[in-house]
């Protein structure tokens, strides 16, 4: 147990213990499923980055001589109603999903963490107001709130990301506040204060680094949800707009060809499910190495 705690940047923040990081990495690797998830996620990221070189066809290139072709040697996963290559569109579609997942969570985190920190650190009125605000935001079903924000902002991938970030913000606020409340009472904060450290220094050098682990864990698990929400918004026509390929909007367009061309509905969904599953198991793995309770 004492060894395990030593692996956390608990009592001595600041300089990172390189051996500690190695221990964490090794513990992560021992969880096979998490490792597989991580590898799959890296592959998806590489596909997204290298899409122009990997994809056999340009994603928006229509070919009216070969529309709704079933999967075959020329088109690995078939073609859609405009003769576009489904395989290429799925590879390019990874971009929208990953961007949405990572950027939306990043936005939600960078809005929620400072607010939660302020609420926990300063307390009082500010805390009351901010906490009732998060209560109110968490009252809405996530998808209803995301949909309402997206509807108010109008369609588009960037706006969908903002909508997802708005939904995630209160989650990070709550978590960060709880972290600050428990860390604030620890001896090392008292010690820092006794040595004359200013609020700013306590926040930046002590509270933030020591709260990083749970925030990162929460963030990694939220990436999965954000990818699904983006796909859902795009499926409803509120996210990524054509001609940019995204898995959600591909599934939207595929719906009317379900009988004729079921492959159009199958492959983008598998792409989403595999990516989200990979992120989920990798996130679970990260949580396990950091959360002593589940060890």
């Amino acid at each position: 147990m004492s060894l395990a705690v030593g692996a956390l940047p608990a009592a001595a923040p600041g300089r990172r213990d390189r051996r500690g990081a190695l221990v964490l990495a090794r513990r992560f690797a021992r969880n096979r499923l998490a490792l597989v998830g991580f590898v799959v996620f890296v592959v998806v990221v590489l596909l997204a980055i290298l899409a122009p070189w990997i994809a056999p066809y340009p994603p928006a290139k229509a070919d009216f001589t070969s529309y709704l072709q079933p999967p075959g040697p020329h088109h690995l996963l078939g073609t859609d109603e405009l003769g576009r290559d489904v395989f290429s569109r799925i590879i390019f579609g990874a971009r929208a999903s990953l961007e949405a997942g990572l950027i939306a969570v990043g936005l939600g985190m960078s809005a929620g963490v400072p607010l939660g920190l302020a609420a926990g650190f300063y307390g009082g009125r500010l805390d009351d107001v901010l906490m009732r605000l998060t209560d109110a935001m968490l009252t809405f079903p996530q998808l209803v709130l995301a949909l309402a924000v997206a509807a108010a902002l109008g369609p588009g991938l960037g706006k969908a990301m903002i909508a997802i970030a708005v939904v995630l913000m209160p989650v990070f606020m709550r978590l960060m506040r709880a972290q600050v409340l428990s860390e604030r009472e620890r001896e090392y904060v008292d010690a820092a204060r006794a040595m004359g450290a200013a609020d700013r220094r306590i926040i930046w050098r002590h509270l933030l680094p020591n709260s990083a682990a749970p925030i990162v864990v929460q963030g990694s698990l939220n990436v999965a949800g954000a990818i699904i929400t983006e796909a859902t918004l795009s499926f409803l026509g509120l996210g990524t707009q054509p001609p940019t390929p995204s898995w959600g909007s591909m599934l939207n367009a595929a719906q009317q060809y379900l009988t004729q061309a079921p492959w159009l509905s199958i492959w983008p969904g598998i792409a989403i499910a595999v990516t989200v599953f990979a992120v989920n198991v990798a996130g679970d793995g990260i949580r396990e190495i950091w959360d002593p309770r589940t060890r």
Partner: protein
Amino acid sequence: MARFIARRLLQMLPVLFFVTLIIFGLINLIPGDAARLFLGEEATPDAVAALRHELGLDQPLYVQYARWIGRMAHGDFGYSFKDHRPVLETLLQKLPITAELTAGALVIAWAVSIPAGVVAAWRQRTAVDYGASAVALGGLSIPNFWLGIMLIYLFAVHLRWLPASGFVPLSQGVGRNLRALLMPAFNLGIVLAAVVMRQLRSSMVEVMSADFVRTARAKGLGQTVVLVRHALRNAVIPVITVMGLQLGTLLGGAIITETIFAVPGLGQLAVNSIYSRDYPMLEGVVIASAVAILAVNLFVDIVYSLIDPRIKLAGSRS
């Protein structure tokens, strides 16, 4: 008990205030003029100005907010931009359909998750446990709208067992109603089943290492009795909280499920009102879902205290 409920209702007031503030803020974010949207593109500027005045849109925002709250307190949720009927009327008309769908989803979720969670905890760290957990995580990773499409493909297009979409009201026969509702309810219930199964498994694992379970075993009670009467009864308490909190997931899921299966409930109404820019209607659905969740949270707190006498009513959660 009455004091507890009164206290919880009072605690809900500031939350309700922020809920209305968020919705009001969102309405005002929407580009374009409500009077223009209501009257349509052909309306004369004079008519638009007159309606603006009538709706109070020429007033400062805080006056608009106060009036808006006042109207809602009287049950006036405004009028649809599309058919100009009162929003509340349409909401009440759609509510039973979504309620039936949600109830069906709950039944399916319980039917799947309780046996699965109990067995996974009982056969902890075996292939059965890992299999069930993997399936649950898989269920959480599959986008619900895609699962719906695949269900339609399999059971309606391919096997032709069930209707692909649509809704048959109860008045046209219970059998036909249930047949139409089976796939949507399954689609909606399966997400919840995954969440509940994971929660139930972990709380069962915890309970099963408790002394009273060992005592029950030592007394020579059968496996089933120990599992169901002793372990499950105690493990189910945190699960109920999760179920309450998951109502939001169900209402959000209803949006997807109703859209895919063409079920004319509140979820489909929300999506259609976004497409037709019928903002008062969308606002109505959003408010209704927030109120429903607040009510259910209160209800869960009460049930919680009835099931588990150890929980003191006065204890406030924050």
